[in-house]
């Protein structure tokens, strides 16, 4: 952050003499950032893919209705009974765009599309949870300082020292045993559980960054100015500091989403995510390991993860460059 980013403040620029008034317009920092982002073709490419992925996830049932078959429908007629692999190697045709799975002939296209729903749903809400906890904790620690800061900072250190994957595996294992005694069941419970576990363990990453930003913002001249004009704590916090945290929160939230996509895929791959027969990319990959002679089975879910994570990373990197020109690559 080189300058406070306040999209609401009108930037007034006096027109130089010789030019008719109104030809030169002041631009807010938000507009400048948007212009920079628009010029970054790679980032915009990432953004387009991200939007497409979200649309695919939302409209998966419609798309599958048009181009595929229900994700859990068996197509034994597509399987060669002697090898249990798809007839003709992959089974790719106009009817089955990505071919069929070995053994039971489920439509890979439909399953990849439905996998996008689970993946993005969990990644988005887990990120939201981390961002909310992380921002609140970071701002509180950075703004109030003292023992509050010490306590929160130590807690963040402790969280970062935890073996994240093993802990979440264990926690999911423990919580899932009580499925019968809870109000929600099945996939809904598992999705909520994954959102909670992934989101809960990731908040210190955001928290640390926000704490650092808050600490440095607190000492800036414009905060001093507000204070000397008689502004009190809440005003400074909500009107001076929080608006300036929008940029870092946006950047790191965008960069946390792909991490969470990978996390969910890993948990499903290990068999503690959403259980079969619900389609998940990680679950499909773990099935595909057993059928390495049929490489198209691992190719499509693997590429789906890759494209999703890459698109979010590209967009996030571009967003950082646009909002935070100091870190120019």
């Amino acid at each position: 952050m080189t300058a406070p980013l306040d999209p609401t403040a009108p930037a007034v620029v006096a027109a130089p003499s010789g030019l008719p008034a109104g030809t030169i317009q002041g631009r807010s920092l938000g507009q400048i950032a948007w212009m920079r982002l628009k010029r970054d073709k790679v980032a915009m490419g990432g953004a387009v893919v991200v939007v497409l992925l979200i649309l695919i996830a939302i409209f998966a049932p419609v798309l599958v209705g048009w181009f595929g078959h229900p994700p859990n429908e068996f197509h034994q007629e597509m399987i060669d009974p002697s090898t249990m692999t798809p007839k003709g190697g992959t089974g790719i045709s106009g009817d089955f765009l990505f071919g069929v799975e070995p053994l039971n002939g489920r439509d890979i296209f439909s399953r990849v599309l439905y996998g996008a729903r689970i993946s993005l749903l969990i990644a988005f809400f887990a990120t939201l949870l981390s961002v909310v906890i992380g921002t609140v904790m970071g701002v509180v620690a950075g703004f109030f300082g003292g023992w509050v800061d010490t306590l929160i900072s130590r807690a963040m250190d402790a969280f970062l020292a935890f073996p994240l994957l093993v802990f979440s595996l264990a926690l999911i294992g423990v919580l899932a045993q009580f499925e019968t005694s809870l109000a929600v069941k099945g996939d809904t419970l598992r999705i909520l559980l994954l959102i909670f576990v992934i989101g809960f363990f990731n908040w210190p990453y955001i928290g640390r960054i926000i704490r650092g930003q808050t600490l440095s913002l607190r000492e800036r001249e414009f905060v001093d100015a507000a204070r000397s004009l008689g502004a009190r704590g809440p005003y400074i916090l909500f009107r001076e500091i929080l608006p300036n945290l929008i940029a870092p929160v946006l950047i790191y939230a965008t960069l946390l989403i792909p991490t969470n996509v990978l996390f969910e895929a890993a948990l499903s791959f290990l068999g503690v995510g959403i259980p079969a027969p619900t389609a998940t990319w990680g679950g499909m990959l773990s099935d595909a390991v057993k059928y390495y002679t049929v490489p198209h089975f691992m190719f499509f879910p693997g590429m789906a993860i890759f494209i999703t994570v890459l698109a979010f990373n590209l967009f996030g990197d571009g967003l950082r460059d646009a909002l935070d020109p100091k870190s120019s690559r």
Binding site: L164, A266, F306
Partner: protein, 337 residues
Amino acid sequence: MVTYIIRRIIGAVLMLAVVSMVTFAIFFVVPRAAGATADDFAARYVGKSATEETVGNLADRLGFNDPVVVQYGRWVKGIVAGAEYDTGAGVENCPAPCFGYSFISHQPVWNDLLDRLPVTVSLASGAAVIWVLAGVATGVLSALRKGSVFDRAAMGIALAGVSLPVFFTGIVSLVIFSYGMGITAPGGSFTPITENPAEWAYNMILPWITLAFLYAAGYARLTRAGMLETMGEDYIRTARAKGLPERTVITKHGLRAALTPIVTIFGLDFGLLLGGAVLTESTFSLNGVGKFAITAILKNDLPQIMGVTMLTAFFVVAANLIVDLLYAVVDPRVRLA
């Protein structure tokens, strides 16, 4: 310096105490809050066919009816001083460090962990050598030739590298190099280094490269960013101005400063990996600590899960401690802070 070391060691021990409490809470307090009884815990040790009386007896013998604080104390005491478990059929001795006794494998958890440790240490250390060398070298070269073809190609590959899950690259490389071309070992191969070092390296090369690729990509990006930042500092201009050879400026002035954040991250990453490279070990069917962890979780073997969690946490805390102490040696400012 001595006070700094002592302070850090105390901090590390406190951290382990916190981790042990959280671990214990996850497995004993959370289920209890969700409605599990002492008998439910005991039932996990004897299996579903046992009568209610047997389960009740076992719950008493293993102390699941005691207050939570007493149970936690007993667990920690076992780690420090060892423990004995009365299984009913005889008393099983579990010497320190006793991370619990598995009633499924009928072994102290520690013995199982020690069996698995060589695999994980081999995997993590070999991969670490590759990723540090490759990642840092690529990052430095990219930063020095910012905008060049090499830089753009390297950063493109690095971005792809951090976007690919290790279990996908792992399977694909197994399919291509082991099952397709037959030039590397198939999944599940491991030979101890003490038996045959050449075969050890041959079996590990594919897991090493797969795991190292992921980390090298991240380290290349970090090193490049760090180098770009330090090479723009005033003291680099000063170093050049006083006529130092460019080599010295880059290695002694630029890289040295750029490396410090990398060292911190390396400590965390390596510590975590020593506690089990869960995904890589699962993909390549290596019987390391990580595979042990996931199997324990799927089997629902409580003492094993807790043991492996504590071991991983220990490695992370120890690695952080070592990094902190090295920092204090390298950078005197740290000691004063």
